[in-house]
């Protein structure tokens, strides 16, 4: 009985074919290849066309596993065994129909192969993207470097031109060129920074520095910029903050400057605030939170993630607040390199708060910085001076001479701007070149003195000119408090300022 069942079961899946030495089918079971008797085996299926070696090899078995065939629109996957014999010239072909078994295998292989192909493609695409990124960054780095050389040359040439005999209008135009060139230089530096970071040329330089000192310098810069927009700038340092910490002070300054400049840029009225808070502190380490808040235009929630992408600009504001959108991208990159992080909270039309957290090693030498405390106190009582000069050289000279802790300086370039600034803010003194574009210095002081505006009509004024003989008398006649001939010494300028400011 067992034999009977076994035979009937096998017959469903097996087929035996016998062919003679001429490769003609002489016996056949009708499982798959039906009506084959009397035919050349080659004619039964293309598979058999290519097994010509049957006539050569004797007493051997050949196994062809997993052969896919289509017979009468039915797909079968079969194993084929071909046996040749030593003495017998006939050959035996055994067909095993394993369609179901192989179909299951196909499903598994399909999933495996698809996963492998996808992973290989992703790996390759990633590699190509990395190569492209590297090429782009190297290109930008080289390109920016090459552009910086002519940009610096333009600056030098502008300085030379400034000292030649130019008319007022020419000087004004030259100053515009210098300013635009400086903006270009700033953009190039940003692009260079990004490419340096992305190509791995960025290095962290650790040194011991005084955090109050850094904040003091940033405060001076910020106050200058806030003056232009009639904004208030406030800074505050946690009293638990260690004086001396170890880290990259240059990059910290860069991060804070970028964030504060952004805050000022997007704020039209109100306050920009910088706060340093000790987030956590151990014997050797401190994590500082730097909070930069403003009362500016704010950022829409959906834009909060995108603002840190390179070249991103806030929607609907790119015309009013131009820029190339690299500042925050640089901040983000720098923070990653310095193992810090940044968060941002913002409400549209109310303002933004950027909080950065940075870890620092606490320096072992915590010497009280008396000089700094003194300077800080002085900065509270600093005098606000408005300087009107169209020459960038004059700006550099005055900035070098006047101590930033004692004086808050605001620079303008024309008589119109002097009047506008005086209406917007109170100043302790005005230092003004007689040569100003549009409304010159003499006209401007005349306007100030004839004005009925009590906040500035009596402002102490120092007039500056290269032409002492002709202009000193005119200046004094128009009620300038004092006069200085260019070039002047550091001591003379300070003496003159002190003489007019009580």
């Amino acid at each position: 009985m067992l034999e009977h069942y076994k035979k009937s079961q096998l017959n469903v899946f097996n087929q035996f074919i016998i062919i003679d030495k001429e490769k003609i089918v002489i016996q056949n079971e009708s499982l798959l290849f039906k009506d084959a008797i009397g035919k050349q085996i080659n004619a039964v299926h293309p598979f058999f066309e290519t097994v010509n070696f049957l006539s050569i090899k004797k007493n051997e078995e050949f196994y062809f596993k997993c052969v896919n065939i289509n017979l009468k629109n039915q797909h079968h996957i079969i194993d084929i065994t071909i046996k040749t014999f030593e003495k017998d010239t006939n050959s035996l072909i055994i067909i095993d129909d394993l369609t179901q078994h192989y179909n299951n295998l196909q499903k598994t292989t399909q999933i495996r192969n698809e996963n492998l192909i996808n992973s290989q493609l992703l790996k390759y695409k990633n590699q190509i993207l990395k190569e492209k990124e590297l090429f782009k960054n190297q290109f930008i780095r080289n390109f920016s470097h090459e552009i910086k050389i002519p940009v610096n040359s333009i600056n030098r040439m502008c300085l030379l031109l400034e000292n030649s005999n130019l008319s007022q209008n020419q000087l004004y135009t030259l100053n515009v060129i210098t300013n635009i060139n400086n903006q270009l230089k700033h953009i190039l530096n940003d692009i260079l920074d990004i490419s340096k970071i992305e190509t791995g040329y960025f290095k962290i330089r650790t040194s011991t520095f005084n955090i109050c000192n850094i904040i003091g310098h940033i405060e001076s810069m910020a106050k200058q910029k806030c003056l232009d927009k009639q904004l208030k700038f406030v800074s505050k340092i946690d009293k638990n903050c260690p004086n001396f910490i170890e880290g990259d002070q240059f990059r910290l300054t860069q991060i804070l400057t970028n964030l504060i400049e952004n805050a000022i840029k997007f704020t039209d009225s109100g306050t920009v605030k910088l706060e340093v808070i000790v987030k956590s502190k151990t014997e050797n380490m401190v994590i500082l939170n730097f909070k930069i808040s403003d009362t500016g235009i704010g950022i829409e929630k959906k834009e909060l993630d995108a603002i840190f992408n390179g070249f991103y600009q806030l929607k609907n504001n790119s015309i009013k607040y131009p820029g190339i959108g690299l500042g925050l991208a640089i901040v983000k990159y720098l923070l990653v390199a310095l193992k810090g992080n940044i968060t941002v909270e913002s409400k549209l039309k109310e303002g933004s708060l950027f909080t950065i957290a940075l870890p620092y090693k606490i320096s072992k030498n915590q010497i009280p910085d008396k000089k700094l405390i003194r300077e800080k106190k002085q900065s509270i009582n600093a005098r606000k001076i408005l300087i009107a000069d169209p020459f960038s050289k004059a700006k550099t000279e005055i900035e070098t001479i006047l101590n930033k802790k004692e004086y808050i300086l605001n620079f303008v370039e024309s008589g119109d701007e002097v009047i506008e600034s005086l209406y917007r803010s109170n100043y302790d003194a005005l230092i003004m070149n007689t040569k100003l574009p549009k409304m010159d210095g003499i006209e401007t002081i005349r306007y100030i003195r004839l004005s009925e505006e009590t906040s500035f009509k009596d402002i102490p004024v120092i007039m500056v000119s290269e032409n002492a003989i002709d202009e000193k008398e005119v200046c004094i006649k128009n009620k300038a408090n004092t006069f200085i001939k260019k070039p002047y010494s550091k001591d003379l300028l300070i003496e003159k300022i002190k003489s007019i400011i009580t």
Binding site: P46, N68, T109, N113
Partner: protein, 165 residues
């Protein structure tokens, strides 16, 4: 007399061997990838006008492997020619090309081998040029089963070569 020649397509999985055959035999193409297990056998007669003959190509479409040494040797018995196919968009499929070709030459020294970079439509002409320079072995054809580019040319050239052997 009709001449019958066995041509084996070999290469990594997913490189488009089955698609090349389908394009050549049926002039169809599908973007869906269906894995080949074992072997599929197709047949197509190729006229050789120069010789006034037809060659019947019996094309064995072998399942792809990470390593062609894993191919069942019985599939290679009696092979008249090989078409080694790789995918131009997947370096894994051509990184071992030189040693793979050596292996095939060892197994069947007399059978001509055509090396084919398939899916050429996925790369730019420049990328194809760069790839051609990068691979040491001579690439006979850059084909696209999707567009049909160079597919007929590949099989016709091979058929002509086989008839003259």
């Amino acid at each position: 007399m009709k001449i019958s020649k066995k041509v084996v397509l070999i290469g990594h999985f997913g490189v488009g061997k089955s698609s090349l055959i389908r394009r050549f035999v049926e002039n169809t193409f599908s973007d869906d990838y269906k894995v080949t297990i074992g072997v599929h056998i197709f047949k197509k007669s190729v006229p050789i006008p120069e010789e006034g003959k037809d060659v019947s190509l019996v094309i064995w479409d072998l399942e792809g492997n990470d390593d062609i040494r894993e191919t069942r040797l019985s599939y290679l018995l009696g092979t008249n020619a090989y078409i080694y196919v790789f995918d131009v968009s997947r370096p894994t499929t051509y990184k071992d090309i030189d040693s793979d070709i050596l292996y095939l030459k060892e197994k069947c020294p007399t059978a001509p081998i055509k090396i084919v970079g398939n899916k050429e439509d996925l790369l730019t002409k420049k990328q194809i040029g760069d790839l051609n320079e990068k691979i040491e072995s001579f690439i006979d054809f850059f084909t696209s089963a999707k567009t049909g580019n160079k597919v007929d040319e590949l099989f016709s050239k091979l058929a002509l070569e086989l008839i003259n052997k």
